[in-house]
């Protein structure tokens, strides 16, 4: 705020709140409270980071096993007395405190339970494998019944297959389609609205495109599922009705207003004198916009695309409804696809609280948070620098 200095304020110390608590203790406390409350946004970002990664931590550190069967040999309950108490405790996987609190009958019951679980476990070379280890999350593995190594996300089966590569590819596919659709349209519209259209037309077009931003994502997902999927299938004639292409187009509609409004702001904030100079040199309005204004606004345009990317990759309801949700690893745009966000939304309700599937979905959430955080940070830094440059120019 440029007029800040005109106020002739007293020199202020730490956080601008040092005004002496003796003079007005009530106000001093109130102002400290204002400062503390204003930290909420920061605290929330921190808490989101902590609480999403906290649930994912056992997987991140490789401390969680999702093996379908036990690795140790089963000991029959009748042989209970042959074991030392310490060996028995380790066999049952109890802490000393838990072990001390249980009587003989309970222990026997636990041993029987363990035997039953072992009997029910599938006979499979992969049954004793910890499928939540990093190796299985990221690299293809030759599961029983497959003739070559594959990447599969199949959490609800006898052997929990947790390869996240198909989901990442799915997210990238839909996001790329969305950006290929939305970026050219949004940038062209931003160029037209900010540079070429008449001011009266601009007053109508801008709110209309902002109206698109007001459509809830579940409605866009519904539109993609019910209307767009049928229309696009009739036009392009591919096999699977719901796929990455349909989801990408619907997703593009969600990220289009974001890209448009930031790019439009960036183009409008290029000083008017640039355009006027170009026009005075005999350039047409289009050439001034394309060769003078656009290059000057490139950082803003980059920020717009970065934030649009963040919006597209983090969008949930649209892809959950329109992408078909088959977790197959495929680069084909017209295959049914499942993204990271849709996986979390569709599967979390059915997982065991604190189980490996639950924690894996939180791991996906943490990955998503990190990716969007970086995209936002990049976009934000560029916008800040742009602002500084423009303010420096004006002064």
């Amino acid at each position: 705020m440029p007029h800040r200095q005109q106020l002739g304020r007293r020199s202020e110390g730490w956080m601008g709140l040092e005004r002496g608590y003796r003079a007005r203790p009530g106000e001093w406390i109130a102002e400290k409270l204002i400062f503390l409350v204003s930290l909420t946004a920061m605290v929330m970002i921190f808490l989101i980071f902590v609480f999403v990664t906290r649930e994912a931590l056992p997987i991140l550190l490789g401390r969680m096993s999702s093996a379908a069967a036990l690795e140790t040999a089963v000991i029959s309950p009748s042989r209970m007395d042959t074991l030392s108490p310490e060996a028995l405790r380790q066999y049952l996987g109890l802490t000393p405190a838990e072990f001390a609190g249980k009587d003989r009958e309970t222990l026997e019951l636990l041993m029987e339970l363990k035997e039953e679980i072992a009997a029910e476990a599938p006979e499979d070379k992969d049954a004793t494998v910890n499928t939540a280890a990093w190796r299985y999350l990221l690299f293809p593995h030759r599961w029983t019944g497959y003739d070559h190594p594959v990447c599969i996300w199949q959490p609800v089966s006898a052997i929990h297959k947790y390869n996240i590569v198909p989901l990442i590819v799915g997210s990238l596919k839909t996001t790329v389609v969305a950006l290929l659709f939305a970026v050219p349209l949004a940038l062209a519209a931003a160029l037209y609205v900010s540079q070429l259209s008449s001011p009266r037309l601009k007053e109508w077009i801008k709110p209309a495109i902002e109206l698109l931003a007001g459509i809830p994502s579940v409605v866009l997902g519904f539109f993609g599922l019910i209307v767009l999927a049928t229309v696009l299938q009739n036009v392009f004639g591919y096999a699977s009705r719901l796929n990455a292409f349909v989801a990408g187009i619907a997703l593009g509609l969600a990220s289009l207003p974001v890209i448009f409004s930031i790019a439009e702001d960036a183009l409008t904030s290029v000083p008017r004198t640039y355009t006027e100079a170009a026009l005075a040199l005999g350039s047409s309005r289009w050439r001034a916009a394309w060769q003078v204004v656009l290059p000057a606004a490139v950082p803003g345009v980059f920020a717009a695309v970065a934030l649009g990317f963040g919006r597209a990759i983090g969008e949930t309801m649209v892809v959950l409804m329109a992408s078909g949700n088959a977790s197959i690893l495929s680069w084909n745009l017209f295959d049914s696809t499942r993204t990271i966000t849709a996986t979390i939304a569709a599967e979390l309700a059915e997982t065991v609280f604190g189980g490996h599937h639950y924690r894996l979905l939180f791991l996906l959430g943490a990955v998503l948070f990190a990716v969007t955080f970086l995209a936002n940070l990049a976009g934000d830094l560029v916008i800040q620098r742009l602002k500084k440059r423009l303010e420096g120019k004006r002064a």
């Binding site: 106020l7 601008g16 936002n376």
Partner: protein, 336 residues
Amino acid sequence: VRRGAGHFEFRAHIAELSARVHGERPDFTLKSFDWVSFACTGLTGLATLLILAILAVILGNIAMHGWPAISWRFVSGGTESDMFDVTKAGIFPMIFGTSARVILMTIFVIPVGVVTAVYLTEYAHTTSPITRVIRGAVNNLAGVPSIVFGLFGLGFFIGFVGGGMDALLHPDNPKPVWGKAALIWASMTLAVMTLPVVIVATEEAMRAIPLGLREASLALGATKLQTIVKIVLPNALPGIMTGGILAVSRAAGEVAPILFTGAAYFMADLPRSLTDQFMDLGYHVFVLSTQSPNIDKTRPILYGTVLVLLVLTFALNFVAILIRARIRRHVRAAHG
């Protein structure tokens, strides 16, 4: 620039040459039509038109198919028998649930958002590191994916806060009272999500208040806090309302954050307490379009629900835009 200028020089050169040859006065005005500019302007205009056409198709499609489904019975009726029954199902429980979670959210988010905006506009140094960090956090919070808010609500509000409250208040109750999906946790999750909207709108309104008002108050002997409470905040009230309404319209349509924190697939009764789950308009749209036993038969109520949701969010948006336009006019009058 270089190509444009070169082009111009070239044209001028040609004009001069032709003048020498024909002995005429050189004509420096470029009469020939610039086809490239014309085509490109047309293309960008077409892109704009295409976006508007898509918008019109979406809204038109929903309005056309949704309008016949709207009736008083549909809007005021419940879903006692079968939520997929076209002739009997109503959406009153969903309208109620969405309104309840959004109103609760406003109660949580407005005070925090307004106080943050007060700090950022009235107290903070624009250049101090802490201000930059707060601003960065606000911007970043706006970009966090909505599904991550859902995970956060589940991990923090339900697991940590709710679970902690259960351990403290009902230590011997085996069934969780607070540590489960509930109206209050969904509202709080949404409040975290919409915090940036309220902060940004309030800040804008507070910056628009002329400095003279503050100076007059200070000159009369009011302290800074008195000035803020008695002069700045009342004048910023329309802006605060705009922020609240924008937050409400954003939150009303969000489904992902409430998937795990409170929305219910089906409930026989309306929620009675803060710890009850609720049915929700947006979630109902999702349920109707993906879980319906016969999508063609249930299509009318699906379109009807979408139309109600859309009208709700757009009406709120529209009110916010009107208030904001009024503020901007006042600003222009005050500063101009």
